[in-house]
Amino acid sequence: MYCNKLPDKPDDRKKIWDKVDNMARANSLWVTAYGTGCGAIELRPLHTSRFDMERFGIAMRPTPRQADVLIISGYLAVKTLKRVIRVYEQIQDPKYILALGSCTINGGMYYDSYNTLNILDRYLPVDVYVNGCMPRPEAIIDGFSLLMSKIKAGKADGWKHYMENLEYYRENQKKVIHNWDLPDYNW
């Protein structure tokens, strides 16, 4: 029924293609936006003719299989964390996470709530934080440009990191998600 083994580890051998590949990846970021909370509303303007994000080659993809970037926005409850994990693991490597908004990053104004995560990167590797409550579209675009430059520099390898310390992440995840009914590997 479900997949039952890890995808083989990415090889870190340098290739001549890497520069080209990173350029390409940086210039065509396909986003699947996981708008759990208030943040999602700030993504819509990016399509509009005012902040036209397609000029950076950023496009929305409705299915995780074809996406590169996962945007986690708004406060992240335990319940939603489960779904976010599955979506993230269904994205194919290389993949990046862009955490949008204070609540996502450190619980924000819900820091003392009984079901909002305070420290996202215990559970998922975040490549770029966009702070603010809520960040304006400009801020998001800024975050994207940051992500792009990271990719170009070949330093946006949170996915690799996630794969390497998977046990650590799983442990944290299972600590907060009591009824862990996900398959062990969602790839």
Partner: protein, 186 residues
Amino acid sequence: MDKNLQRIISESSFESDTIREDEGYLHVRVSRVHVLELLLSAKQRFDMETLQLISVVDRIEDAVFQLTWILEDSGGTSVFMISADYPRENCTVPTIGDIWPTAILFERELHEMYGIDFPGNPRQNEDFLLEDWRELPPMRRDFDTLEYSLRTYGERRKRTHTDPREYIADSIDEWDTPVPMKDFER
């Protein structure tokens, strides 16, 4: 206030002190033994068709939960609210799911959030919002959410600089691999 609401109390066989009354609005407090009887008569004789809400106030000082049933008649012209106190400790309240099926849902929520037990409610043990919650019900006032939050979800490292520019500057330095938080926790 209209006849209908007036008659509800006047014809009821037990005493009840009116908290507030207004045009088409009546809020009474009764002792909890009479609640069911009053609700029934309100539904059957005075056509209080809709149950709008069951609300709870955790009056921890008096060690009671104050439950309030908010009813409305079919015309939507008059609202009738009944309040009653129940002891907090393993508090049980009779279910009214068979009178207003809506109540089944409300009571599920109250059961999850306050731990109030509604014997006879078929679905009260299903998850309402939380999935598999194991602690004290989170909405009770004796549940310390901050303590729980810090205990369970940890605390984000406080910023070291107060000057935004510097902070952003060195946060930008942290490009390379996001180190797992275990290295930061102290």
